[in-house]
Symmetry: D2
Subunit: 332 residues, 4 copies
């Protein structure tokens, strides 16, 4: 497959590396900062930087496009690529809002191309293993999910693009919270109703730095989620409860700590559960696994990657929380 990269920052670079590692060709690059496109292109033989993303996605020799820009450009570039008949892997959250994303989904359907959204946490080994266990019935019917995800920012974080709702579409809830929402939907299914609160507690910025979300799922389950960028020690934790067992995922590697999955299996006599823990101290393999899944999706196999429908559903949750918070603020 010949793949183009639009957006040549940290994530674009990781995607390129993964694409090459899987035997595909990094065929072209584009970036709002031309030097970055040129520099990434240099690392891959035969890869050419384009002056703009429009020219790049129009190239006939390109099969698929990775869109890894900041949020405000994700939807437009994805739409352009789709209209040019390309398959697209667009980074999460795929758009600043669900409203921005709905036309993309319609266009993709019309064009018959495959679009996947880079909710790469689904491809972390602890989460893949959790999914397997749930699918195998290891926890029984689902009851609820608790999620906590956060980091502590860095000096000047409130001056970065993520602090600007015009560029980012929202704050912490849209940035890390959307992963929790996507993962919870992945385990608990469709969301029936939402309540929540997005507030700015610490940083000097218009975007929220904390998002609290309670999801009521169609099957009666509850998702209870909190994302924070005033989480002083980096943290990722997802707890998944079924009628006969619990799964707990901690860590994502690096500063989030070693990734691990604990499985607590209830015994007929109840009391302390049977406990098995898997740790994943190795390299982050989620990028390769996700791209492989994207390939398979293009080939027609439904895999585990998030679709535009998934992304729209997650963004709808975010929008609902924002509306409730605004209403609450106006009322106060």
């Amino acid at each position: 497959m010949r793949v183009a990269i639009v957006g040549c920052g940290l994530i674009g670079g990781k995607r390129a590396k993964s694409i090459a590692a899987l035997g595909h060709t990094v065929a072209g690059t584009a970036d709002a900062v031309p030097e970055r496109a040129a520099q990434l292109a240099k690392a891959y033989p035969g890869c050419a930087a384009s002056a703009g993303w429009r020219e790049l996605v129009a190239r006939a020799d390109i099969d698929a496009v990775v869109v890894a820009t900041i949020n405000d450009a994700l939807a437009a570039i994805t739409l352009g690529a789709v209209r040019a008949g390309k398959h697209v892997l667009v980074e999460k959250p795929a758009a600043r809002s669900a409203d921005e994303l709905r036309p993309v989904a319609a266009a993709a359907k019309g064009a018959g191309v495959t679009v996947r959204v880079g909710f790469n946490h689904r491809f972390h080994p602890a989460l893949r293993k959790a999914r397997e266990l749930v699918d195998a019935g290891a926890c029984g019917p689902m009851m609820f999910v608790r999620g906590r995800y956060g980091h502590g920012g860095r000096v000047g974080y409130d001056r970065e693009w993520r602090a600007d709702p015009t560029l980012a579409g929202g704050g912490e809830l849209l940035d890390q919270g959307v992963h929790l929402i996507d993962l919870t939907r992945w385990f608990l299914g469709d969301v029936a109703s939402v309540s929540g609160f997005a507030g700015t507690f610490f940083w000097d910025m218009p975007a929220e730095d904390n998002g609290f979300v309670c999801l009521h799922h169609a099957g009666g389950q509850v998702g209870w989620l909190h994302a924070s960028c005033s989480e002083w020690k980096n943290l990722f934790c997802l707890e998944i409860y079924g009628r006969t067992g619990k799964l707990q995922i901690d860590g994502l590697g690096g500063s989030y700590g070693v990734e691990r999955l604990a499985y607590y299996r209830m015994l007929p006599q109840m009391g302390p559960p049977e406990t098995t823990i898997w740790e994943y101290p190795g390299e982050d393999t989620s990028w390769n696994a996700e791209f492989r899944d994207f390939e398979n999706a293009i080939a027609g196999t439904t895999g585990t990657g998030a679709t535009l429908t998934d992304a729209i559903a997650a963004l709808d949750v975010v929008a609902a929380v924002y509306q409730q918070s605004d209403r609450a603020k106006r009322a106060a």
Copy 2:
């Protein structure tokens, strides 16, 4: 001090032991099951079992009464003891509801006696240390609190008194959740508004087995709390966030794991926080500390023990969640 025990179960026995250890006299006992009162009385020289709590609290030689019955009798016995001019230490939640408790508070005020409510978690060493750190400004102004508390029940749990709202006044939210609510108020102050959900996911009982609560405090802080008796591995975790640091308390000893407090202090350059952890592997000292605080309160020193005002506030939160959940169920 000469102390009477009403309710001679597990907790009544612990209170008696602690009273004697502190040099006071366990002077009388009463229990709905007379044999239990007699058996506890036998363990303390000069201690007599009364036929009923009314006779016991009327005894002229009694200075203070510990009320450790099941929930449906807590308020009435406390009221009786207060009217008899006794100081009272009543186990949490002190009543089945705030409405049941308000007349007790009025009577106590009128009688000029001291009433404290046994929210003993305030006296666990990790929580006392956390409180000291917060009071010393170690975390800066408070932002939010996350709390998770739960156990996995036991075979037949849904046939015990805690499963019967008539006896218990509620379910898990009232049982363990009320501790989280009390502790959160202790750190964040008065509650301005509440949203939440109480649901029954696992057990075959009318009472809820899971309570989810979002508190908005008067100072703008948020409490984000979940209590569960389908928490398959016993868990207690309270995370307290200020502008310059985080405190995390895990465990309560025994099956909840070793109690520990972690203090994450943000550095000017941000990044990984300075981290100090205290572990408390020893015996549970909360009972003695709480009773000592009760003595001091009688002597006129405001301590850390919960008052009837605190208990009413916590029960008001529970009632608000129950109302919202009922409304949601009727709407659905």
Copy 3:
């Protein structure tokens, strides 16, 4: 099976409980303190206390004897029971020395009875699982074992019988160290040579409070063991290394922490190993498992329980360390 208990202290009581739980009859008791024998007998219907162990082991209705006295009487009572034609489960270390134990082994062989030695750590779930993994080749050929075991004593520990070499036969190396030696032999096989040091660092007693042992096994493996009763935080840790993996057992429950087994499997590309951890938070099941194994041994099935040969081998190691330490002290 009708079983007699000689030595009715803490361990004798645990054995009785386990025997009854497995459907056998606790038929008689004896203890140097007659009241203890009487009290234990009272708990089991039809069980009678004898005036002395000699009368008890002579009773025709007794099939097997549990010997759970302090160390100075273990060998003599076991010998007496064996000569009376009884099967015996004798607590570790089975004697004060290998020399004391050799005649017992000879007599047992002559009498055709089964004797097992209560090295109950072999029956802890983490160790059983470790054994299964090693037997299944999960770690490849064995290379070395590291063991650390210890506790911090208690006030007056140096005035207890364990501090008196005449009663105990030795100190910490004989008490907890012998477990490490037995477990290491269980995984690495026969010991070819020993070096080590037993010293008294903290306690005011003639027995050693720390034993350091290096075992060279017949197959070239090394055991590297340390036992201590000035180990301020209770600790049990056994690390087992094979050419393709490592097993680590931590904890024994209670004050030693939750028992757990970690399995680190080397991958062909090396780097961080594949990691799986099992935790055993439940009740201590080793006593029942060990007695079941004793039953099976009587019935002719070779199980995992330690034999007199195993105990003699472990005591030979202890004796070798004591000799080297004495020689070193005389030389100094």
Copy 4:
């Protein structure tokens, strides 16, 4: 200070960075591979690469030399630099053997220059804090130290220079074990006698891959140390026991896990100790701290850095273990 770097590999590069960060000048470089010297020089303005180390250490404008080559050249270059009147910071173990190092110490004494040996673990924050606690009497008089240090190598490890005793001077005991020996001496003082064993269990190489050492210190304390490069999960653990407390250091950052120090303080009533833990999740600051200490040593302040006397003592221990192992092999 104007500093020259001899040996421009990974460690030489780290030293250069640290020197510049502290406000000194990286004035010259040399390496057996001239390209490496040139490349490192390029990174520092005004820094020139020399054709060989002899020319570099002879330069009049150089105040101090960092020697960061592989082991076979450490002693000779240090000697040359000392004779040229330069202060030297030489990486551990400073030589292939104590015999190689003694003339260097004599020359340094004669030349009146300062030499420090890069046992940088002394400068890790957990170890510095441990040292402060011990110096403040927090653990009482020292009793013994247990140390475990190891890694799992990598594919082809037995073909690297560390596998060749001619280049390295020894194997794992000299490589990582020497850190344990140095740290133990730092806490327990002079070594009076040594026993130990160096063996090759896994790797196909003449050098040992495991070293087991028992140190008897002049004050009666014991050091019980094991270093391994068939330690499948990277591990660093040092446990320091005094009469009234224990310190445990785990981790060194990176693949060795977060560095942490636990302090267990015994209470008069004994039982579970008072427990305080410090974690050091940040960047490795040992390099800067060690160089600062080197500066202070040059200025005449005795600091915590290791001297040639310390290195000779540690290498003497290694040599003693090698002799005993050779003798044992010949005897077998």
